[in-house]
Every structure is written in C-alpha cells, then in structure tokens.
Symmetry: C5
Subunit: 90 residues, 5 copies
C-alpha cells in the first residue's frame, strides 16, 4: 500500500454511478515520517473507506484491492484509503 | 483515480473493435488545483464515459475499472474518464 | 491507453509459446503531437494487433486489455498495440 | 518482484478488516547489492508473509500476487513481502 | 513487455512456497539496442521461464501474465522472463 497525506477533497456531479455518495479525497505521496518523497509529486483521488480526515497520513490500496473494500457498484474505484496511520516505528 | 485535464482527442481508423464509436480523449496529468505535477509529463488517451469536454479537469480510472464502466466489447480499454471535477475543497 | 511510436521490432527464438507467430514491436513513448515526453524514456515491446508499421503513432494497452485483444494462448502478453493514430485534434 | 529493505513498521487502528493482525512493514527500494536506486525514492507499506525483520532485503510482490499469499479476508492487500534475500550472485 | 538485461540472481531460503525451485533472476532495464534508458534505474527480480542466462537481453511480463506462464502454485510471481531477444531490427 502507498503512504499518502489527505489534503482535501473534490466535488464531482457528473460521474460514474459507482462513485455516488463516495468521499473523493485528494492525496499526496509521503514517507512514513510524513516527509515528501524525492522525485515525482503527483496528487491523486482515493475513495475513503475508513473515515480519514484532512491532514492524516493514510494507507492507500490500488486496483482490485481498492474496489473490493467497497460493496458493488464499485467499478470506477481504482484507489482507496484502507487505513489511517497512528505511528511509524523505525 | 488520477487527476487529468482533457486537451483534445485523437482519430483512429484502424483499431480494436472494442474502441469503435468511443471518444478517445487526450489527457495530461494535473494536480487538484489545475497546476502541473512536478516530474514526469506524459500524455495518455482515455475513453470518455461521462461527457467530458476539452479543458475540463477529470477523474481517470485505470485497468479493470476502466473496462467495467463500459458495456462489452471493452477489451482494449485500460484508461477511462469516470468523473468531471467541479471543485477542489482544500 | 498510452501513446507510442513504433521504432522497430525484435526477434526472439526462445520464448513463451503464447508469443509464437506474434509481431513484437519496439515502441517509445510520445505525446499526441509526436513530441517526446519530458522525464523518463523507456522503450518497451508491444504485440501488434492492428497492422502497425514502423514510424506510426499508436495506442498501446496494458495488462488484461493487452491479452484480451488476442485469442488464447495469450498468457505472456501484457502490452499490445490496439490502434493506429490518424490525427490529433487539439 | 521488487527489491526492498525493511526500515520499520506502522501502527494503524482504523483500517480495513482484512488488515487486522497483519504486520505492516515500511519498505524502501534497493538494488540487489543493497545500494539505493537512482531516481525516485518512495517508501511503501507491504504486509509481511515470511517473517522479515528490520534491515533485511526482501522480495515484494504487487497486486493479485500480494493478496494471494494470504488467506481471505485479504482485500486491501496490494503489496506483500514474499521472500527474504540471503545473497546476490552477480 | 519490458526490455531488460539479466545481471545475476538471488538466493532466498525463506520465501513463498510458490517460489520453491524457481530461478530468481536480477534484471535491469535496457533499450532494444542494449543501452540504458534515461531516468529511473531500478533493479527487479523476475522468475525465469525460458532458460535465460546472465548478460542476455530478455522480455519481461508483469502481473497476471507473469503468473500464467508457470503452473500453480504461482501466487507470488508478478514478474517473469518470457523471451530471450536475439536481435533488434530498427
């Protein structure tokens, strides 16, 4: 799973029916200590499954894993928040 | 899902039958506020499922998610526009 | 789908039976106008399903999409040319 | 499979039920000799299936491979440690 | 499929049962003419299915394609060598 920070959300009226009523969170990549990874910076949108809030560091799953944490219809979901990180133990 | 801006479309005569009658939109990566991500810049082609127009910021799904927002035949589709972004709430 | 230019082909004698008789085209990433993307440059090998020739700009599908545009056996195929681009409409 | 070094673990209370009781290891990319790859540096979280400890170099599998080394429920797992590297033979 | 050069192998005692008896080859990315791609350099481990030897340029398949060139159990395999390149025809 990827490590990411929640930095907000997006509003979308015209969308796949499988996204209706879902929380569309904007995330950015982070390391486990909250620092920014070197190299590429790309925000993405993940559907929240665990009640994550802005500023929290979260676990993000991709592909089939993202769909399967939601009941159907879930077709359009390829990125989901599946955990909230409490602490990093180096 | 990825965040992208629609910058045009492509015409293709010789293609997989599963792409017949589909709108082949050219997209580029963006952040939620419309700015360009640092690092890699790579345009891709996504099949539109929500009536997205040029200049709009959209949600893009990859892999099985992209196929499953379309009825069969959908084999060749591995990237689809699944939502239009109205606004970003930081 | 990714945008790529066909720059040649490879010959492989020792290979998965699912690649027998297939055209193994070498591709490089391009933008819709034929320019090179900034950042990473990585050639890959895609199996041709539409009669693409050297120098043409093509649509490339990955993963299950790549396998499913071919009849079985198709196991080893994870990248396929699924369309030839005639023109880009900005 | 990717090559990675285990650099710690994360604690997560609020998470997908499929992650309950799993060891969530933080990994960073390495080459086979333990050196750091040039370019992108991105930590990720992989679920341990082989008893890997901090500092060890491991094999990491992604996607369906990551889920299938665990019994169900395994939905949220898209990255798993599937081997510990003893040595590299150049 | 990706283009890669075999640069060695790894030994792993503690691993997924699906990797028992498999040849775990270390690969690095190359272009079709054997040159190194610009940008990211990341070694990975691919399971050999075609008798590839050190120094050879090979075709590498990812995901389900990698699993399906092997009989079960093959769960942990997400990267496989599926062809040896004899020559590049530009």
């Amino acid at each position: 799973m990827q490590l990411a920070r929640v930095i907000g959300s997006v509003v979308s009226t015209q969308k796949s029916p499988s996204l209706l009523g879902k929380k569309l969170m904007v995330i950015e990549p982070v390391n486990a200590d909250g620092s920014s990874p070197a190299g590429i910076y790309q925000q993405e949108v993940a559907v929240d499954s665990v009640g994550a809030g802005e500023g929290e560091i979260v676990l993000v799953a991709r592909g089939a894993s993202a769909r399967w944490v939601f009941a159907e219809p879930n077709q359009a979901i390829d990125l989901a928040i599946v955990g909230i990180i409490d602490s990093f133990v180096p």
